[in-house]
């Protein structure tokens, strides 16, 4: 497949956001993934052409970062956090249960069965800055907090069947390609979906409000306090 004119235009648009065009390379590669489904040779050539680099230079950058895929992933790409804290809290068990259920390895897409609308794939991810919600699972880089093995299998089956699944702290989970387009810097109008914060983010604030604690001399939290 070759890169179409619209995509070329958007690649140039990304490069133009920066004082030096090459700074656009990471978001440009995200855009390539959103149209190609992975970082393809055609996508590498297109980035190289727009930036005046060699394909080898672009490729050397692409292979450095784990979010860039050389093989296609599923429409819903599941990242189970198996860094220490999540692993201990159940991430290892969740990862094992899900890969056995789907019968997939690291670079594979689970078989699309009759009736499935969408495909899924699984990888282990490192700490995703949500340890207070452990065990954490990311689907297309949206948070699924406090997961269990059986619960995640049900969620993944719902995704395959095409049912809407909302992130714990975000909107209905979009496809991987749509997510990659946002990561290229193109807004999708979903910023206002989901809550401001999950419950764990608010525990300290709630205790402070219950106790009437505010930083000495500050009116910062006062407004919320008087509302209570």
């Amino acid at each position: 497949m070759s890169i179409d004119e619209k995509t070329y235009g958007e690649l140039r648009e990304i490069a133009a956001r920066y004082p030096q065009a090459r700074s656009g390379l990471l978001p440009m590669l995200h855009l390539v993934q959103s149209t190609e489904g992975s970082v393809t040779p055609a996508g590498i050539d297109a980035c190289a052409e727009v930036l005046g680099l060699t394909p080898a230079e672009v490729s050397a950058v692409a292979t450095f970062y784990t979010m860039y895929k050389r093989h296609r992933v599923g429409d819903f790409h599941v990242g189970v956090c198996t860094n220490t804290l999540c692993a201990v809290m159940g991430g290892d068990a969740i990862h094992q249960r899900l890969t056995e259920h789907l019968d997939v390895g690291p670079d594979e897409i689970a078989d699309k069965r009759q009736g499935d609308q969408y495909t899924v794939s699984v990888e282990r991810v490192e700490c995703n800055a949500a340890c207070d919600y452990a065990p954490v699972v990311m689907v297309n880089w949206e948070f699924l907090d406090n997961q269990t093995p059986d619960g995640l299998v049900r969620t993944v089956e719902a995704l395959r069947a095409g049912h809407p699944v909302a992130s714990t702290r975000g909107p209905r989970i979009c496809t991987w390609k749509q997510a990659e387009r946002v990561l290229a810097g193109f807004e999708d109008g979903l910023a206002d979906e989901g809550p401001a914060a999950g419950p764990a983010s608010l525990v300290g604030l709630e205790i402070a409000r219950d106790q009437g604690w505010t930083p000495a001399g500050a009116g910062v939290g006062a407004k919320g306090d008087s509302d209570d």
Binding site: Y18, L51, A129, D132, N146, S201, L205, K223, G224
Partner: protein, 428 residues
């Protein structure tokens, strides 16, 4: 109880549509920007110096002093502000909730800080793996621009692509220039030659987000909180085997004992076994350290580092060897490959640890591990290599016998199922 919580940055996280411009303005948002704009830039720098704010990204370098290192303005050489929103140190989970709930706190901080250092273009480098946070940041920057709040300041919100090392400030700059994220030789420091070889200030999200409150309430207000040399408030992130994990914003110097009391204690009344005070790169603490004041000086004096106040709490059901092996595999995976001690060293550390965890090898492997750590610590090109040795040396110091138990037992003597969240809920 002596300790209280002091929500400053987190104060609005529970508000209605806290992430929107309207929501943020309802609690006085962007008033500090007006105040700052009426001040000379140098006066804002002095204010931040006077507050005693120290970098919240791990190293604790005084923020105002860092800004003061910029060389005098030269014709034609722009200055840049770069915000480090890469948050990837295992255990660290404070910047992401801040950005999700109140991205405008950061945007206002960026606008004030850019005014202070006379930067006309600021970049926010966000790790790529948090889609919804990126949406909120893009929207907040757009809203602020459309509302005319930014003047001639340009803010570019940039998504990374998965690499822990890009949190290291010079690797971040290379990555932001569209290259592999590998650390740069210093000097020159970024203040002199940073992004595009121009003078650049790089600060953590929480550091920059603290600036509006300092401008609003004054430097003394901030400086009066915390301890003598570690001023102000900070977000403490409790995770793991505590009853109520989450974000607790408190004055620096609070202890884990006090935080645990607020968090409802250890889950199911189990015993605290080990914890990280500032992420996985900071040497482990045990229940001996419950009363160490969590400020830069006291934690260092007790043999670790305050780091990012990422308190990962593990109870007695957890095998320390398993925990350390997993962190070591992380460092091996994330080593950027630029220098030999770290690239080769993390590989061998993981090999030896894996063998020990399987109950193979011998007691002399512990000395081998310590030897290998010696060859990495202080000899690596950046702090990732140093950090990789922290969990190993500290765990051998406090839990040598547990390593040996693996050899006697022919494998791990612990039941991994016992430490999961679901196992605990089942026994409630």
């Amino acid at each position: 109880m002596s300790a209280t919580l002091t929500p400053v940055l987190s104060a609005t996280w529970g508000d209605e549509r806290a992430w929107t411009l309207d929501g943020y303005r309802a609690s006085g948002g962007y008033e500090a920007l007006e105040t700052a704009r009426a001040m000379e830039p140098e006066a804002v720098v002095e204010m931040v110096k006077g507050s005693g704010l120290r970098g919240r990204g791990g190293a604790g370098f005084p923020t105002g002093m860092k800004w003061g290192f910029l060389p005098p303005l030269e014709d034609g050489k722009p200055r840049y502000l770069v915000v480090n929103a890469d948050e990837s140190e295992p255990g660290t989970c404070k910047d992401i909730p801040l950005l999700m709930a109140s991205p405008h706190t950061l945007i206002e901080g960026v606008a004030i800080s850019s005014h202070a250092i006379r930067a006309q273009h600021a970049f926010i480098y966000l790790r790529g793996e948090v889609l919804h946070v990126y949406r909120r940041l893009l929207a907040a920057a757009r809203e602020a621009r459309e509302a005319g709040l930014l003047g001639d300041l340009e803010i570019t919100v940039h998504a990374g692509a998965g690499a822990y090392i890009c949190g290291e400030e010079t690797a971040l700059l290379d990555s932001l220039e569209g290259r592999r994220g590998q650390p740069r030789l210093r000097p020159p420091f970024p203040a002199v030659a940073g992004l595009y070889a121009s003078p650049t200030v790089i600060n953590n999200v929480e550091s920059i987000a603290s600036v509006p409150a300092i401008v609003r309430h004054g430097s003394d207000w901030f400086a009066d909180m915390g301890t003598e040399k570690s001023n102000g408030v900070g977000i403490f992130s409790l995770s793991g085997h505590v009853t109520r994990p989450g974000q607790y914003e408190a004055e620096l110097g609070i202890t884990l004992r006090e935080l645990l009391e607020l968090a409802g204690g250890m889950r199911n009344g189990r015993r605290l076994k080990f914890w990280t005070p500032g992420g996985s790169s900071t040497p482990l603490f045990t229940d001996e350290h419950l009363d160490v004041p969590l400020d830069f000086e006291s934690v260092a004096a007790a043999g670790s580092m305050l780091g990012t106040r990422a308190l990962q709490i593990f109870d007695e059901t957890v095998c320390v060897v398993r925990a350390v092996l997993r962190w070591t595999e992380f460092y091996k995976h994330e080593s950027c490959g630029k220098c030999t001690p770290c690239r080769e060293g993390t590989y061998w550390l993981a090999q030896v640890l894996a063998k020990l965890e399987r109950g193979e090898g011998s007691a002399s492997d512990l000395d081998l591990l310590l030897d290998q750590c010696d060859n990495i610590l202080g000899r690596s090109f950046c702090a990732l290599g140093d950090g990789a040795t922290s969990p190993i040396t500290s765990s051998i110091k406090y839990f040598r016998q547990e390593y040996l138990d693996h050899l006697d037992h022919g494998g791990c003597p612990f039941d991994p199922a016992a430490s999961t969240l679901f196992a605990q809920e089942a026994t409630k």
